[in-house]
């Protein structure tokens, strides 16, 4: 009897975890009754209003530069997208949401907000503090505030459009990274064209490739990282059904994003024009990665709880083992332990396949709200098939 009660409790916990986490919830972009939808459109259309004429009017002149910028930006984006896809290990971000994040980050935040804001702030610094001071500090004291807030509100709009899908700190990290990646790619395209213009339109491809190489080398400490931290901080500050508000922690993450961005952009001024600039850039990169790892660990805790609740009933019904549950709801060490302690004569490769299939089962369970649909049954059957076919 106690087992039956336990099973019921587990099923109730699963349903609660799915409802609270928002896992499996679909994303619908067109929401005419949602004010965020209209502001989203406003920002993207305004951004296009600048972007399209800029590139169209010079399309013939800078065709080579534009082609090189598109190819290099796409290559940079592809690498980052692969990384984000791999990092998005709990509940995959819906593709349409990732695309919406990329577009508003690239077009809305960059061209509708950051471009006029940056120009005005830098001009004000020069007027107030003089040309020499502005030359050194205007970038570092403008970009973090203008650009992080521009990308931050893009993320807020996505939260408003997908309040069930974006609920955890991990969601903030991933969706924020997509917003930042869009910003980075579209900004790089603009820089590429500027670079070609700075050479009076000569050696266009070489000019763009030089810019791309520099941006790619320094790409780790980039907008994707800044915005991931900033958006994760916003989730903590705002609080959601899945993440109780923790303002202090959230503000620290947002502040970290601003500081990393600011120090990176002020590296030359901070070094006084000496070779110490490289040390500052390396130290900033190390610090940025350390903060990201901390944020991932902080965010991962809640995701592990949800994954454990979703899959625990499958241990009771012997679809998966306790070790496999620990691997799915744990960290890399738990995963290695599952591979090492596999039972039933399974090969390491087969156990990896089983773990992946269990991930599919979790996805199907979340999509079904925890009920046994045909997809769920199919996923269970797949796990059983993998165990028997050696």
């Amino acid at each position: 009897m106690s087992t039956l009660v336990s099973a019921e409790e587990e099923t109730a916990r699963r349903a609660d975890a799915i409802a609270t986490s928002g896992w499996g919830a679909p994303f619908r972009f067109v929401q005419p009754r949602n004010a965020c939808f209209w502001v989203y459109l406003l920002l993207v259309v305004t951004g296009l209003g600048y972007l399209v004429p800029t590139f169209v009017s010079t399309a013939g002149l800078y065709a080579e530069a534009n082609a090189a910028a598109i190819i290099t930006s796409a290559a940079f984006a592809a690498v980052f997208l692969y990384f984000l896809h791999r990092m998005d290990r709990w509940e995959k971000t819906p593709g349409l949401l990732a695309l919406a994040a990329f577009i508003i980050g690239g077009i809305g935040s960059t061209y509708a907000i950051a471009l006029p804001g940056n120009a005005a702030m830098m001009s004000l610094y020069a007027k107030t503090f003089g040309q020499a001071w502005a030359q050194d500090w205007k970038a570092g004291l403008t970009a973090p505030f203008v650009e992080e807030s521009a990308k931050g509100v893009a993320f807020l709009l996505l939260m408003g459009l997908a309040p069930v899908v974006i609920r955890t700190v991990y969601d903030g990290l991933i969706v924020g990274a997509y917003v930042g990646l869009g910003f980075q790619v579209f900004e790089d395209a603009l820089y590429g064209q500027n670079s070609a213009a700075a050479h009076f339109g000569a050696d266009q491809a070489q000019s763009v490739l030089s810019t791309f190489a520099l941006r790619a080398i320094t790409g780790i400490t980039s907008h994707a990282l800044y915005t991931a931290l900033f958006a994760a901080g916003l989730i903590y500050v705002i609080g959601t059904a899945a993440q109780p508000r923790r303002s202090g922690r959230g503000l620290l993450l947002m502040l970290a994003a601003l500081v990393i961005h600011g120090v990176w952009d002020s590296a030359a001024a901070l070094s006084g024009g000496t070779a110490a600039v490289f040390l500052i850039m390396i130290a900033t990169s190390v610090f940025a990665i350390a903060i990201l790892v901390v944020a991932i660990r902080l965010g991962g805790g809640r995701e592990r709880e949800f994954m454990h609740a979703v899959l625990a009933p499958e241990v009771t019904t012997a679809t998966i083992t306790g070790t496999e549950l620990a691997a799915l709801a744990g960290n890399r060490r738990d995963r290695r332990a599952a591979l090492r302690t596999r039972t039933g004569g399974l090969s390491r490769r087969k156990e990896k396949h089983i773990l992946k299939a269990i991930g599919d089962l979790a996805d199907d369970l979340c999509a079904s709200g925890g009920t046994d649909t045909r997809d769920v049954e199919h996923s269970r059957a797949e796990i059983a098939r993998l165990r028997t076919h050696r």
């Binding site: 965020c36 907000i113 040309q131 020499a132 807030s149 509100v153 000569a202």
Partner: protein
């Protein structure tokens, strides 16, 4: 926002949350985004427009055009961009020079160029003809040679557009090209022609 669900296209917003057909629970994020947009796209630029430039060139000023080239500006022009040779900054390359006076702009933009000054001027003309076609840009005089007081040789031409007239000059020194442009309303520009000529003629190697 945590209680908000994602409505479908035909979803009806509960009456207590409905304002002009919109779900007012979505307002906080939408309004925050709108405020930030208005701040950076309109308010701060308006403040910037309202704050005047007060940095004017004084007797004895010398501007750094590139690490290797300088310019002596006419007195009383507003410095909107550019560093004096007495300024100390961490960066190696100075920003482009942009001076203004009574609606007349004088701008120098450096860049790498491996051809001659005449080829650079032709390239600049091609680019400007394309980018400023809507403003009716057209060249009004053929390229003429000029020599600065330091002995640097360049070429220049004049042009006109719907509401402006101007001069474009090109100068090349050791792989470094300069695009020099002076532009202003037809009523103002002639009054500053000698100042512009003086400034172009003052371009010299650093330390000369």
């Amino acid at each position: 926002m945590s209680t908000l669900s994602e409505p479908g296209p035909r979803h009806r917003v509960p009456v207590e949350h409905r304002v002009l057909g919109l779900d007012r629970r979505t307002f906080p994020f939408a309004i925050t985004a709108l405020v930030v947009y208005l701040l950076w796209a309109y308010l701060v630029p308006a403040i910037d427009d309202a704050v005047p430039w007060t940095d004017e060139t004084r007797p004895g000023d010398v501007l750094q055009v590139t690490p290797d080239l300088t310019l002596v500006p006419s007195v009383g022009w507003g410095v909107q961009s550019g560093l004096r040779t007495t300024d100390r900054t961490a960066g190696a390359a100075p920003p482009p020079v942009l001076l203004t006076k009574d609606g007349v702009l004088f701008r120098i933009e450096p860049g790498q160029w491996n051809g001659s000054a005449a080829e650079l001027l032709a390239q600049i003309t091609t680019i400007t003809t394309t980018t400023a076609a809507a403003e009716g840009f057209h060249v009004t005089s053929g390229a003429n040679t000029f020599v600065t007081r330091d002995g640097l040789t360049g070429v220049l031409e004049t042009y006109a557009a719907e509401r402006t007239e101007g001069v474009i000059a090109a100068l090349v020194l050791e792989g470094q090209g300069l695009q020099i442009q002076a532009v202003g309303p037809p009523a103002q520009l002639p009054g500053y022609a000698s100042s512009i000529e003086d400034m172009i003629g003052s371009i010299a190697r650093s330390g000369s």
